[in-house]
């Protein structure tokens, strides 16, 4: 490090962990740091020429109570934007050439997606930040959704509570235009049992009909539901108490299924939980 070099703590953004460090030498120069769409306030760094600047910028920072900005690219002195490897958290660092006068960061708005009443699921496409946050206006498929309940008969989703655009079988489509909170409601599908019983009868009927006419097959149109987004941080405590009750009940059900307590006893205990 050269004589007279000073390390500056330049900027703290929105009380978050966005921090910039610069190394300066004797002749003063200015670097303008700005953000596309004013995602964060612009600022300037005074530094000395012929010295490298190490600039640090948070990968994500708060936009409001329910969304965040996530860094996607940067451009130096009006050149083309250079994409960065996107991360959910942490700090992006870049060495700025000494003769640079400006850098502009581009970011996108992200909202979180959370799902209740399911054991496993996957997103398609995956989150660009490899977590449960998605870019605004992206359309996401929730796939391979499985139920918390296990049993001989398969479970299928009968309804979703939340802003689902469309759902078919155990998958759903959502548009990321706000924080998304979904709850899946399940029912046991006994149709397999009915199928086994009805198979021979249906076979005979189809055979008879085929002999006379072609049959018409009606298609089921997937049910379209669209509800207003549901996300209220004030409800969090109530939701967490419901979650606690649900998990405690799950433990009781486990004790019943492993024959530690009788179903009658579990009902009695549940009432006093």
């Amino acid at each position: 490090m050269k004589l007279g070099t000073i390390i500056f703590l330049v900027f703290i953004l929105f009380l978050t962990d966005s921090i910039v460090f610069a190394q300066l030498d004797s002749n003063t120069n200015i670097l303008h740091v700005s953000f596309v769409n004013n995602a964060a306030p612009s600022y300037e760094i005074e530094f000395e020429t012929n010295e490298k600047i190490l600039l640090e910028q948070s990968y994500s920072w708060i936009r409001d109570d329910t969304s965040r900005y996530n860094l996607i690219s940067y451009g130096i002195d009006g050149d083309d934007f250079i994409p960065i490897s996107r991360q959910p958290r942490g700090t992006f660092s870049i060495d700025i050439p000494a003769d640079s006068s400006s850098i502009i960061f581009s970011s996108t708005v992200q909202y979180p997606v959370s799902i209740e009443g399911v054991r496993e699921y996957s997103f398609s496409p995956k989150s660009p930040t490899n977590d449960n946050w998605f870019d605004k206006d992206s359309e996401i498929l929730i796939l391979d959704v499985t139920s918390n309940d296990s049993g001989i008969f398969p479970h299928e989703i009968v309804n979703w509570d939340g802003p689902v655009i469309d759902y078919v079988d155990n998958s759903a489509q959502i548009l990321i235009d706000s924080p998304i909170h979904l709850t899946a409601y399940w029912a046991t599908n006994y149709s397999f049992l009915g199928f086994l019983v009805l198979l021979p009868i249906v076979g005979i009927i189809v055979f008879l009909i085929k002999r006379k006419n072609d049959s018409n097959v009606s298609n089921t149109v997937p049910k379209h539901t669209r509800k207003e987004p549901k996300f209220d941080p004030d409800d969090y405590e109530e939701k967490i108490m419901q979650f606690l009750k649900q998990k405690s009940n799950e433990k009781l059900s486990l004790l019943v299924s492993s024959e530690v307590i009788s179903p009658e006893k579990s009902v009695q205990i549940k009432e006093n939980l």
Binding site: D131, K247, K251
Partner: protein, 205 residues
């Protein structure tokens, strides 16, 4: 007769935790091969009724459970079977609360079959196998199940709160309040489990 004269929860828990050694000739009453014998039926009836009522049981109650009737002759048969076999073996204990109030309880809920070995160094015993009365018939107070259910629920809830905080779904203040509250609850539950129900959680959870 009031409840204070019955075995208390701690006494029942001791009976669940302690393992009773039985000679082969007594252990046979528990085995599946004896399921049609009255001795075997009485053991399971006492276990089932004690678990339901959370107290020792009367002859009349056993008779009603086994024969659907409460006749004196049936009660005498049960009483003699207990006295001649099950009490002698140390499987069933007769508890006399007053002249007219006699009840029965299992001495233990887990039994070890042992074999006595005669040797020049003195009698020794060799453990062979363990029999456990099905847990559904253990006289465990509801409070225990409430505690272990809540313990599990709180553990999962704390995980969710941490995950929600990591995902910026809650503010730090709320996160800290909730984690403190739930951690304190969890600690109280754990304390109660390890004092009042010591040893039971390992057998049941």
């Amino acid at each position: 007769m009031t409840d204070e004269h019955f075995l208390d929860d701690a006494d029942f828990i001791d009976r669940i935790i302690n393992v009773k050694n039985l000679q082969e000739n007594c252990f046979k009453y528990l085995e599946d091969s004896s399921k049609d014998l009255l001795t075997h039926k009485i053991i399971f009836s006492i276990a089932k009724l004690s678990s339901e009522k959370m107290r020792p049981v009367k002859l009349a109650e056993i008779s009603l459970d086994l024969f659907d009737v409460n006749e004196k002759s049936k009660q005498d048969t049960i009483r003699l079977t207990i006295e001649k076999s099950l009490s002698k073996c140390g499987i069933v204990e007769k508890l006399r609360y007053s002249h007219n109030d006699v009840k029965y309880a299992l001495v233990a809920y887990r039994f070890k079959k042992i074999e006595k070995i005669d040797s020049f160094r003195g009698d020794r015993s060799k453990s062979l196998e363990l029999f456990e009365i099905p847990k559904i018939f253990w006289p465990v107070p509801d409070e225990f199940f409430q505690l272990i259910s809540k313990k599990y629920g709180i553990g999962e809830t704390l995980k969710k709160i941490n995950s929600d905080f990591d995902n910026d779904l809650i503010l730090r203040g709320k996160y800290e309040d909730l984690t403190r509250e739930f951690s304190e609850n969890l600690s109280q539950i754990q304390k109660k489990l390890s004092t009042k129900f010591s040893g039971l959680e390992e057998l049941i959870s």
